[in-house]
């Protein structure tokens, strides 16, 4: 990328090396932050429009062309709202919780390879880092529920703890199944393997497909979305863990949910569907189109998650655990074994 290279050289010519690299990092962080704040807002809009189309409605279509500025207006409203709180809340934790959730959500974003060059942070334990980061978010939810001194919020928070700890296993194991084929946790290398031998979901055929299904289910649960939205469970707990939050603090929780959804879909895109690679390599000579393919695949998976949400009823808390421990986990372990055998015997499809 020429622009980034130019800025890089300009910065390093301007000031000493340490300062320059720090400034560069901050710049990248700010750019990412801006992009994902906007992306989060538009995901909210997308969700609302998609929900409306599922439900024979029109959805927000008044603010701006086809409602494109609706979520901006909502965000503006939320910024201007009063931040209320409960009297006996643990003030420090109560205020900390939303930042915990949003920061962890944003941290994970830096890892994804949008094109070969547009890749901010290519760490060699990429997948591991992603799983680790996404499970920190639940601490924010637990803190929020516990500190707001509300029984409904507490029930929601405890449910969240139970749910995330359980489904973390499935997310990890299903990704591990795919890592068996790539032999690396680094995201750039995972993509490289797919560049040579086709998307991993094709390479790994049956076990990869099973792993994908399990990953999507567990991923939906990880983001606390319906049918696994027991944490919020509108008809049971009112609003669950964020009952006592208002204004921008509530908006952070709300935004984090959508960014988490984007993260889950992005991981699936990277690991199963070849990240920025185009199908059959049709646009391989235009690298910048990689962003298009990456976002396209991600949005398709996000749409799938929205489809789940607007079709299925919610599970009960014990059924949620039964699904994980009796169905997903044993299947996942079997699948891991199957994949290991396949890799050992060389049964994967290679192009």
């Amino acid at each position: 990328m020429n622009i980034t290279k130019n800025i890089h050289e300009w910065l390093f010519s301007l000031m000493p090396e340490t300062t320059a690299s720090i400034v560069e990092m901050v710049l990248i962080a700010v750019v990412y932050l801006a992009i994902f704040a906007v992306a989060g807002l538009y995901l909210v809009l997308l969700e609302r429009r998609v929900a409306a189309w599922f439900q024979l409605r029109l959805g927000p279509n008044r603010v701006g062309y086809q409602g494109l500025l609706q979520t901006m207006a909502d965000a503006l409203k939320l910024v201007s709202k009063e931040l209320t709180g409960t009297l006996k809340a643990d003030k420090f934790l109560y205020n900390l919780a939303p930042y915990f959730v949003i920061v962890t959500a944003l941290m994970a974003m830096s890892l994804f390879p949008f094109t070969k060059e547009l890749h901010a942070f290519d760490i060699n334990i990429g997948i591991f880092f992603l799983i680790a980061i996404s499970s920190i978010g639940v601490i924010g939810i637990l803190l929020a529920g516990w500190s707001s001194n509300n029984k409904f919020a507490l029930i929601g928070a405890m449910r969240s703890g139970v749910q995330t700890i359980s489904y973390e296993l499935s997310v990890g194991l299903s990704l591990l199944t795919m890592v068996l084929m790539t032999g690396s946790l680094q995201l750039s290398q995972i993509v490289e393997v797919q560049e040579k031998g086709g998307w991993l979901i094709v390479q790994g055929h049956i076990p990869a497909l099973i792993a994908f299904c399990i990953y999507m289910i567990a991923g939906t649960a990880e983001t606390n979305r319906a049918p696994f939205d027991l944490v919020e469970a509108e008809s049971e707990l009112g609003a669950g863990f964020h009952t006592e939050y208002s204004g921008m603090k509530f908006a952070y929780f709300f935004l984090a949910e959508f960014i988490n959804m984007f993260i889950i879909a992005s991981i699936a895109t990277t690991v199963f569907f070849g990240a920025y690679l185009s199908p059959f390599g049709i646009t391989e000579n235009i690298p910048l189109l990689g962003v298009f393919w990456f976002l396209g695949k991600t949005l398709l998976l996000i749409f799938l998650m929205m489809w789940f949400r607007w079709t299925f009823p919610r599970l009960r808390i014990d059924q949620l655990l039964v699904l994980e421990w009796k169905y997903l986990l044993p299947l996942n372990l079997m699948n891991l074994l199957l994949m290991a055998l396949m890799v050992l015997l060389g049964l994967t499809i290679q192009f």
């Binding site: 439900q55 409605r57 489809w307 079709t311 299925f312 169905y327």
Partner: protein, 158 residues
Amino acid sequence: MSYFSDIYNGVKTLLTGMSVTGKYFLHSRKGAITQQYPDNRDTLKMFDRFRGEVVMPHDENNEHRCTGCQKCELACPNGSIEIIWDRQVDPETGKKKKMIDQHIYHLGMCTMCGLCIEACPTDAIKWAQNFENSVYDRAYLTRVLNKPGSKLMPGVED
């Protein structure tokens, strides 16, 4: 083996559900049931029998059909109608006759039961199909149905 057939059946029913919502998603353009209300004011027509509010029709000579018999006032279950009347000399016959001064209707209390209109022997009041009744002050909801200076249509007797 029921373990695997459970999974199979479960996935099948879930996919069936998704196909139903998916079908509506694909037809979302023409399937929308939303009424974009303030925009469709021109085309939105209420049914003739819709009970919006009670009105008293006047003809071009500013004459109404209310004789002041107070049957509507009696029929009303919650006192939404008050009639102020007195006896005046009828200019045509020269006899003293009951005439309304004001036919007061409290829309704020009305439950739209329609008993007053059923009770009216001279069809002096009827339903209007107006439904935009919100006002900023509840005093506006108290209405005088007969127009100022209006009088009884000749030939209407109870």
